[in-house]
């Protein structure tokens, strides 16, 4: 079932996305919200560039931050060199893109010699190498303090100087839109199709007459270009670049974003990037154990929803279209509270444990959770939380067991409509 390239639905979707991107900062106009939106825009480009490798070519990279980070550093140096006037700031992310592409040409030659697990290890090694280099050349990478600059360099194009965060947002949104469109267009080209073939069956791709290594290399170079643009946008947005932008942590975060969103769908990483950026700020602001929850969430997704959020949404949509969604609703309504009870149990246990360690030696044991004050030193509180978790898990098991029968029936009805399941 292939949709035509310029179907009405698709054009409407793209225009709608563009309209939302334009309207958003008008609705959420607080400074904090606008910088969050900027971060989202950058991460969308970065996560999509990552998915060109993982989702489309089947290359699991643990060192994608290299291209992003190098793009950011080169853009920052370019910004400082441009000085007053001269090159328009609007086009400066291209410098980052060129740097990411150059890095892809150089490093990608080594990494894409292999696919699969070996590629994953090599990309990790190359990532570590560049991260280690960043401390060796303080002249370029700025050492511990990083490199900083000022994006307001006189009058820009049409008098836009990017002095305010909102102007910066529109720059990011514009670049993000162009990049997303370009990356989508790439999936429709012969190269994009061959990348999928190389991912699914490199041997057959080779029989058709394409060199899988060459296809992987080209995708790597192009992916480096878009990652470099994302890096360039970061440099302009924060006006400072530190060695952290190219270390393993950044590589890990982009992998998590793409995977949680859904690597099997073009729009999956967009969802992941937006969701995780919001979670980082929202949950990270409430609890210090946020990375722990995040790790748990990721493991849960790997084990139970390897298609990511996008695949969950797609299945729901297909069920809805086939009029099979409503019969499932009671099941959903039963599983949801059970899942929430288990979640409450986990959160209580983790927060109490963390609270105890935080307040070690102060004699205080009170942990504050959604307005409740719990004595983390009492055995009753721990027993209660553990009981909550156990009860929640049992409930999930029971309710899910009942839903699963209907769910499987609905899925098989979806696969052969009209036929006997």
């Amino acid at each position: 079932m292939i949709e035509p390239l310029f179907s009405r639905g698709r054009i409407l979707l793209w225009l709608g996305g563009l309209a939302i991107a334009i309207v958003l900062p008008l609705v959420f106009s607080k400074g904090f919200a606008v910088s969050l939106l900027c971060q989202m825009g950058i991460m969308v480009v970065f996560a999509l560039s990552y998915n060109m490798l993982l989702g489309q070519t089947g290359l699991l990279s643990f060192g994608h931050a290299v291209y992003y980070g190098l793009g950011a550093f080169v853009t920052m140096h370019a910004l400082n060199m441009v000085g007053k006037g001269g090159f328009p700031i609007t086009l400066l992310p291209l410098a980052g893109g060129a740097a990411g592409m150059a890095a892809g040409i150089l490093l990608g030659y080594v990494t894409t010699k292999k696919a699969g697990t070996t590629f994953a290890m090599i990309s990790l090694g190359i990532g570590e190498m560049v991260a280690a280099c960043s401390l060796m050349f303080p002249g370029f990478f700025g050492g511990e303090g990083g490199v900083s600059g000022n994006r307001v360099t006189g009058k820009g194009l049409f008098g836009i100087s990017y002095g305010s965060q909102t102007e910066m947002y529109y720059l990011i949104a514009g670049w993000a839109f162009v990049c997303v469109a370009a990356m989508f267009a790439l999936t429709q080209t012969p190269l994009g199709r061959m990348a999928n073939a190389v991912r699914d069956n490199p041997e057959r791709a080779e029989f058709v007459g394409y060199d899988p290594q060459w296809v992987r290399y080209l995708m790597m170079v192009l992916s480096g270009f878009f990652a470099g643009i994302a890096g360039g946008l970061t440099a302009l947005n924060y006006e400072i670049v530190t060695a952290e932008t190219l270390n393993a942590h950044t590589s890990g975060v982009v992998l998590l974003m793409a995977f949680v969103g859904g690597i099997g769908f073009f729009y999956g990483p967009i969802i992941g990037a937006i969701l995780i950026t919001i979670m980082q700020i929202a949950i990270g602001g409430i609890t210090k154990a946020w990375l722990f929850y995040f790790g748990l969430f990721f493991l849960f997704m790997v084990l139970y929803a390897p298609g990511g959020i996008a695949s969950l949404l797609t299945v729901q949509r297909r069920l809805w279209v086939a009029r099979l969604w409503w019969p499932l609703l009671p099941g959903y309504l039963l599983v949801l509270p059970a899942a929430l009870v288990s979640l409450a149990g986990i959160v209580a246990l983790v927060e109490m444990g963390y609270g105890l360690l935080e307040q070690e030696g102060t004699g205080e044991h009170a942990v504050h959770l959604v307005g409740l004050s719990i004595d983390a030193a009492s055995g009753a509180a721990w027993a209660g939380a553990a009981a909550l978790l156990a009860a929640g898990l049992l409930l999930v098991r029971w309710t899910w067991g009942r839903l699963e029968v209907k769910w499987n029936a609905a899925l098989s009805a979806l696969q052969n409509p009209g036929g006997a399941a």
Binding site: F62, V110, T117, A132, G295, V350, G353, L357
Partner: protein, 312 residues
């Protein structure tokens, strides 16, 4: 001469420690096709468990108990996590272990804090084993070597001289046939995974106090171990052994050599005035990058690794 011998001894000690990690990783990889990203996390857990146990029961007990606890934990992870992820293919397995490494680091942060813990070498190992020219070689390093070599011999005997070792070797190459002959292959996988992580835990017990026990230790060692496995050849135990020693020696030797391209030029009577940052870098400064450069060189000139069996 003195520098050479001492560096060699240190390099071999470090290399043997690396082999304790890479051997488990290699066994797990060649058997299940799973690259255990969290392998170094088990190394870190070994160090932290040993620290915790040694505060109550002393180092001797930690040396015995901590690897067993880590191994049991590894077996549980394989049984209830990895086996589930296996249904979704290799990428899901790799991502599972990646997420696990992430989670373990956070758990260590939560339980033991973000800074290093005071895991010390026991007092009876303080002191000098022998003095070479003017540099002393500590007893503890000798002990590390002893444990590593003992482990190496035990692993070799286990794999080649025992029944379970033969079954493991058979399951490495023909798991379906072994299964058909009535052996419980998933259980063997679980045992190998538990055994491999126990080795990593043991490395953590003796490495944690020789170096430093902190939450970043897994990430620091993990990438080096991956380099070892790539350089040695994926799935080759002998290759992992050679590569471990090689990289161990490279790392210890390079730390002590303060020589740069500028010095080299000066040796030939060329004075590089105002030379660039690259030319002024000494080997010591390059030390953290050298293993990765070696990996890149190996990949370009011998893509299957030193002793890798086949091109993949």
């Amino acid at each position: 001469m003195e520098f050479f011998l001492i560096s060699l001894l240190n390099g071999v000690t470090y290399g043997l420690l690396l082999f304790m990690l890479s051997s488990g990783l290699t066994l797990i990889f060649s058997m299940m096709g799973v690259l255990n990203f969290a392998h170094a996390s088990f190394y870190m857990l070994g160090a932290y468990f040993a620290y915790q146990i040694s505060t109550y029961l002393g180092f001797g007990a930690a040396l015995l108990v901590a690897p067993l606890v880590v191994g049991a934990l590894g077996a549980v992870v394989e049984r209830y996590g990895l086996r589930k992820a296996h249904r979704f293919g290799h990428v899901a397995e790799l991502l599972f272990t990646f997420g696990l490494a992430f989670l373990v680091e956070e758990i260590v942060h939560l339980v033991w804090g973000k800074s290093s813990v005071d895991y010390k070498i026991p007092e009876y190992f303080d002191g000098t084993l022998f003095t070479l020219f003017s540099t002393s070689f500590p007893i503890y390093k000798g002990f590390m070597m002893l444990v590593s070599v003992g482990m190496l011999v035990a692993l070799y005997l286990l794999l080649t001289r025992t029944r379970i070792g033969l079954i493991i070797q058979a399951a490495l190459s023909k798991p379906d046939m072994v299964q058909a002959l009535g052996h419980d292959v998933p259980k063997i996988f679980m045992l190998v995974f538990g055994g491999g992580t126990a080795l990593a835990g043991l490395a953590g017990v003796i490495g944690g106090n020789a170096f430093i026990t902190e939450p970043g230790m897994a990430a620091a060692v993990g990438s080096i171990v991956f380099v070892v496995v790539v350089v040695g050849g994926m799935g080759s135990l002998a290759g992992a052994f050679v590569a471990s020693l090689l990289i161990g020696c490279i790392q210890t030797f390079s730390v002590g050599i303060t020589f740069s391209v500028t010095d080299l030029a000066a040796l030939f009577g060329v004075r590089l005035e105002d030379s660039s940052a690259v030319a002024r870098l000494t080997v010591t400064q390059l030390a953290p990058v050298l293993p990765y450069l070696l990996m890149v060189a190996i990949l370009i000139f011998r893509p299957r690794g030193l002793m890798g069996a086949r091109e993949s």
